[in-house]
Symmetry: C4
Subunit: 197 residues, 4 copies
Amino acid sequence: MKTDRLEAFSDGVLAVIITVMVLELKVPEGHTLHDAVTTTGHSLLTYLLSFIYIGIYWNNHHHMFQLIGRVDGRTLWANLHLLFWLSLVPFTTAWMDESHFARTPVMTYGVNLLAAAIAYFVLQLAATAAEGPESPLRRALGADRKGKLSPVLYIAGIATAAVNVWIGMALFTGVAIIWLVPDPRMERFIAENHVGE
Amino acid sequence: MKTDRLEAFSDGVLAVIITVMVLELKVPEGHTLHDAVTTTGHSLLTYLLSFIYIGIYWNNHHHMFQLIGRVDGRTLWANLHLLFWLSLVPFTTAWMDESHFARTPVMTYGVNLLAAAIAYFVLQLAATAAEGPESPLRRALGADRKGKLSPVLYIAGIATAAVNVWIGMALFTGVAIIWLVPDPRMERFIAENHVGE
Amino acid sequence: MKTDRLEAFSDGVLAVIITVMVLELKVPEGHTLHDAVTTTGHSLLTYLLSFIYIGIYWNNHHHMFQLIGRVDGRTLWANLHLLFWLSLVPFTTAWMDESHFARTPVMTYGVNLLAAAIAYFVLQLAATAAEGPESPLRRALGADRKGKLSPVLYIAGIATAAVNVWIGMALFTGVAIIWLVPDPRMERFIAENHVGE
Amino acid sequence: MKTDRLEAFSDGVLAVIITVMVLELKVPEGHTLHDAVTTTGHSLLTYLLSFIYIGIYWNNHHHMFQLIGRVDGRTLWANLHLLFWLSLVPFTTAWMDESHFARTPVMTYGVNLLAAAIAYFVLQLAATAAEGPESPLRRALGADRKGKLSPVLYIAGIATAAVNVWIGMALFTGVAIIWLVPDPRMERFIAENHVGE
């Protein structure tokens, strides 16, 4: 099967997830800047973090399926599995936010990010398995250092959040920053191999 | 008419349905894991079940329209009819969940699943009718055992839920598991006939 | 400009509108069928009516842009104008529903439908103006009896709702039924002229 | 990378933003026209203004990517950056509305519009940078007077809103009116250069 509908559906789900989080933002109590900062400042920051995370997944998903020609039923489900974990992000974000960064909600947020990272990894395996050993994606990924480092940092973040939530949050933010830089492997590979032209 | 816009609209509706259910998930009361499990554990499980159901419909819809070349007005409405029943899934899920699996809401959930299955069957008829007796979809479906077994299991689930809701839920979950396995008929047929290449 | 992105955006907006209305459905108070019917029965019926209306607009929009090759900036805005009125449907539906069919909310619902019908007519003018007098859409529409009858019935519905809301509702439902029948003009024209092949 | 998926995702996000705002509209308290006007009249007007703004961005985004052939990772993030600010529009609209146009919320709304305008400008830079000095978009934009005037008017609106919110609102509305007129530069350029044919 071609990848166009898988991409369209994923775009739709990610578009809804990313904007639905805005519905969780409560209007500030009071009408001054001070009111806004004290009652919604932390919500806006967590929204920003989760927005960036969903953006990163969209970005990487986009890069991945530039290099995938065809998909089978297993890949469709691996993709739905990833979307499931990402669809929980508004929920875990809201809990973390509402608890004002209590220990368990912050750790749960980290577990959610970890589960999404694992689901992404599984999706990559499923998508390249369907393509065989000479898969362009597999060659473009190379050692996939970012992909291997992220789960380690998530686990470190979850563990340290048990002691101090801010170290955990710093690690979760750190992973986002690592991924914010667009993946030169992919872009170079796409440019060199004239994929999609 | 070509199928691309029907597919795009269905993707959009299913993407919204699948993510809108997250909005029904209430943030746990309290900030411990125990609070989360006791106040939202069952909501997360019902969310997971409904997510899988919508995923199954998307998956099957995707497979179906791989094999359909053109659609007429009747098929457009048969498709909207299916989307109508699927759009009620967040509503019946929320009722079942809020009632902590009371008898009538569980039976209503089953009726919703049954209605969606019938609507899917009608859509299949409409889509193949427009294509004539030599429709590739009709040939790919063959005996369509899963499609014929599901309504029977739904009816059994609705009936047994009147006595014991957990048997009903087990049957509804069982149908989901049957469908989770991707349809080899379709994939084999698509591969053998080089559809969409 | 090509019509693909206008169609994609409209599909997205209509998909969100049609499913967002489900969020307005409140979970029944109580766990019996009697509770469900008395507390949400009328909400489900109004949801069904509005679902059909949005479905009709999607259907007609789909048929229309099968016959339109290119669009200009004016058509983009005429399309947004139509989407604006349709985006208010969940709002006017909710008011009508919450008021248990009080006079003003029912009349407001009718005004909303009327405004959408006018916006659709304006969109048709804008889309065909860009195409010149030999526009295929213009020829396919012919006398456009349904398009001309609907506003008359809406106005009659709004006027009679001032006296008796149920006559008004019957007229609004009647228009929906008229449109539910797929437009044979379009389909015949598309088939005869091999549009989109 | 081709622009189709960037466009599809942006369409999805903008479609959700534009319709999600309807969910913020509260059903009027009471069932008369007077009740509706006094309790939701201002909400409907702010909804209309924000709807037009999102419509303008969709329109301009559409025009822009008619003239862009390929995008790199930087452009993907510049686009997500724009979508981030636009995704906050329902939030700042709701605050302004709930405060009945208090000073700080109105100024915040203006800051949101200003940030979106800057993000749009940055996206334009990123998109044309990837195309080199002979970019068709750069030539089509020419002096880009509207693009340069808007931030000035937003800043003027934010400053004057500190003294009188209605002057600020008038300026924000004024910018919307300036952009409502479709961009003849783009259309002329597209027509003359047969882009997308």
